[in-house]
């Protein structure tokens, strides 16, 4: 025998174009909802990943004007402040510290870099500890330098590309008139390291007369340790300042959370618009079937049966639209990602739009609930139709 579900399906197929258009309206809203929620998820995860990939959670620098420190990092300016290398050993003694890596940043002016010259920057590192912290760094060619004071260099992907360097080639430090042999070229990492020229720490210290001095110490905190505590302890060291990347992440995320709220509002608006479309379609359908619904009541349908029938039609439309929308968001997630990247001024690496099973189920559930709510009024109206009104609307007494 016929079930109400079958009757509902057949009713929807009666006006195929209208049902299709309504379904597409829901599908597009669902696509927007899933993509935006997926973006929310993906962006946060990508940011987390980027922060984690910094390798160290904290950096220790010599106390000084932070804006100078900023300039140093951006362009390599003058007036750098230095940390004594012994501080690194003091930091390593702290129980919360898992590992440290000492760094020295130095710059020279290269008059033959561009029309008016430019700055060339070099980062002196200890390859064992630096490589251990930044595990994501992979080599395109070669590897890290051997001895701690070798006349060697490792180049980040973009630095190598600009200079057209491969492993075995030479580079030249102007002002110091020093040749270094490139022993490694890194793969693209999507971080600052891509533009960096790495030199053995001792080599750089010796070349620039900065023996025993550092500009930065990268610190990896033990997983179970409280970063706040170690920060406080580090501040007890003389003439240092601590930059915590967790703080940086919080700052960025608070910027992003405003965007998130906006994103959710847009998604909700999209859903509301779709809902209105659904209510309109079903109401129109009920109006057109006014007589028919009345007749259904004469053949035995209770008001509750009619309510169920109409409600089922709404739910079917919304569920089908939701599934199509989900499909669209999966297939077009790369397109959505491209759209987002073209609009965001800074975006983390990796997938920005992350659509997983939980999100899909949640979205489908939300759309179904919306379908159920949208169908309430039309179903109630249909349930109240009196058979006599339906019959009388055509036949005279």
């Amino acid at each position: 025998m016929m079930t109400k579900f079958q009757v509902a399906c057949k009713n929807l197929m009666r006006k195929k174009t209208r049902s299709f258009l309504t379904l597409m309206g829901i599908a597009l809203s669902a696509w927007v909802l899933v993509s935006l929620l997926g973006f929310n998820q993906g962006f946060e995860a990508a940011l987390d990943r980027d922060i984690d990939n910094m390798g160290f959670q904290m950096m220790l620098m010599a106390k000084g004007c932070p804006y100078e420190a900023a300039t140093m990092m951006l362009k390599g300016g003058t007036g750098l402040k230095y940390l004594p290398q012994s501080v690194a050993q003091d930091v390593l003694k702290e129980p919360e510290v898992e590992a440290i890596t000492p760094m020295l940043m130095q710059t020279v002016f290269d008059p033959d870099k561009g029309e008016n010259g430019g700055i060339a920057a070099y980062l002196g590192v200890d390859p064992a500890s630096y490589g251990a912290m930044k595990t994501y760094l992979k080599f395109r060619q070669g590897g890290w330098f051997g001895q701690g004071d070798a006349l060697e260099a490792v180049m980040g992907y973009e630095a190598a590309e600009l200079e057209q360097r491969e492993a075995g080639d030479l580079i030249f430090i102007p002002e110091k008139n020093l040749e270094l042999r490139v022993v490694g070229v890194l793969e693209r990492s999507g971080t600052q390291d891509d533009g960096t020229i790495f030199v053995p720490l001792r080599t750089l210290q010796r070349t620039f007369g900065r023996q025993g001095e550092l500009t930065t110490i990268g610190i990896k905190v033990r997983k179970d340790a409280d970063p706040g505590r170690i920060e406080e302890k580090l501040y007890e060291l003389p003439d240092v300042q601590v930059v915590s990347l967790a703080q940086v992440k919080q700052t960025v995320m608070s910027l992003v959370s405003t965007a998130k709220a906006l994103v959710l509002s847009i998604a909700i608006i999209a859903i509301v618009i779709a809902m209105v479309g659904v209510i309109n379609t079903i109401l129109m359908s009920v109006h057109e079937r006014f007589q028919e619904i009345g007749i259904l009541k004469t053949i035995g349908a209770m008001p509750g049966d009619i309510f169920q029938l109409i409600w089922m039609e709404t739910l079917l439309l919304c569920a089908a639209g939701g599934m199509v929308g989900l499909g669209l968001s999966l297939i077009l997630s790369r397109v959505t990602e491209w759209l987002v990247r073209s609009v965001l001024p800074f975006a983390p690496r990796g997938a920005l739009v992350r659509i997983d099973l939980d999100l899909m189920l949640l979205s489908l559930g939300a759309i179904s609930v919306i379908g159920l709510l949208s169908g309430l009024y039309p179903a109630w109206k249909a349930g109240r139709i009196r058979p006599l009104e339906a019959i009388r609307s055509e036949v005279g007494g």
């Binding site: 004007c65 932070p66 900023a70 030249f172 300042q241 930059v243 975006a347 690496r349």
Partner: protein, 220 residues
């Protein structure tokens, strides 16, 4: 300076530097650092320019690559001389009249990339020779005006007979003096880069009718 201000500064730094996504992972090309400043300097009389981005891969693929290599009598090799390198060709105008081109290539040098720009008249002869970047202890000598003057009015016809592999030069190319005898390698690299530049422009211009140029800024 308060802690908070420092965090904000660090946040700004990391946001712009550390967390910025990499540019699109394609090969890097060779552009003028400041075209609005450099175009009128390299091409006196220019009032505006248009920019075309061209790739061997897209224009003619392996066939075009083969033709270029056979004209250069050398292979385009290594990690960086690849078929998908984007070349920027600046088309130079005085008013509505096209007056020439500027084109740059990066040539691998002894200590780093050598960025060689040629400003060319419509007949593809060199009007101005310009090294935007070069590395090494003798780098400065290659950027002196005297060296650049040696290239003025030379064309592909002159470079056609220059042997990149052996450095053997004839005619007007042979008259170009090495400004840094201790940097013989970079001198030869510069000549190779110039020849490559001229061949590329010649090949690109054969196909330029198919391409719609992007508008540049009006200089001056």
């Amino acid at each position: 300076m308060t802690l908070k201000r420092f965090f904000l500064a660090a946040a700004a730094i990391f946001v712009f530097l550390g967390l910025a996504s990499s540019p699109a992972p394609a090969a890097v090309g060779c552009d003028l650092n400041d075209p609005d400043r450099d175009v009128p300097r390299l091409f006196p009389g220019a009032t505006r320019y248009e920019t075309l981005t061209l790739e061997i891969q897209k224009l003619g693929g392996d066939r075009l690559l083969g033709r270029i290599e056979s004209r250069l009598r050398d292979k385009l090799r290594g990690l960086y001389e690849t078929i998908d390198v984007p070349y920027t060709l600046y088309v130079i105008y005085r008013g509505e009249e096209k007056i020439g081109y500027i084109h740059g290539v990066t040539q691998k040098g002894r200590y780093g990339g050598i960025q060689i720009f040629l400003a060319l008249d419509l007949d593809e002869s060199i009007r101005t020779f310009y090294i935007q970047k070069i590395s090494g202890p003798h780098a400065g000598r290659f950027r002196k005006p005297g060296f650049a003057e040696g290239f003025v009015s030379l064309s592909l016809a002159d470079f056609e007979r220059y042997e990149v592999a052996t450095g053997q030069a004839t005619g007007r190319v042979a008259r170009i003096e090495n400004p840094a005898p201790l940097a013989e390698q970079d001198f030869r690299f510069t000549l190779r880069g110039t020849k490559k530049n001229l061949i590329l422009v010649n090949e690109f211009l054969k196909m330029s009718a198919q391409l719609a140029p992007k508008k540049g800024n009006a200089s001056q």
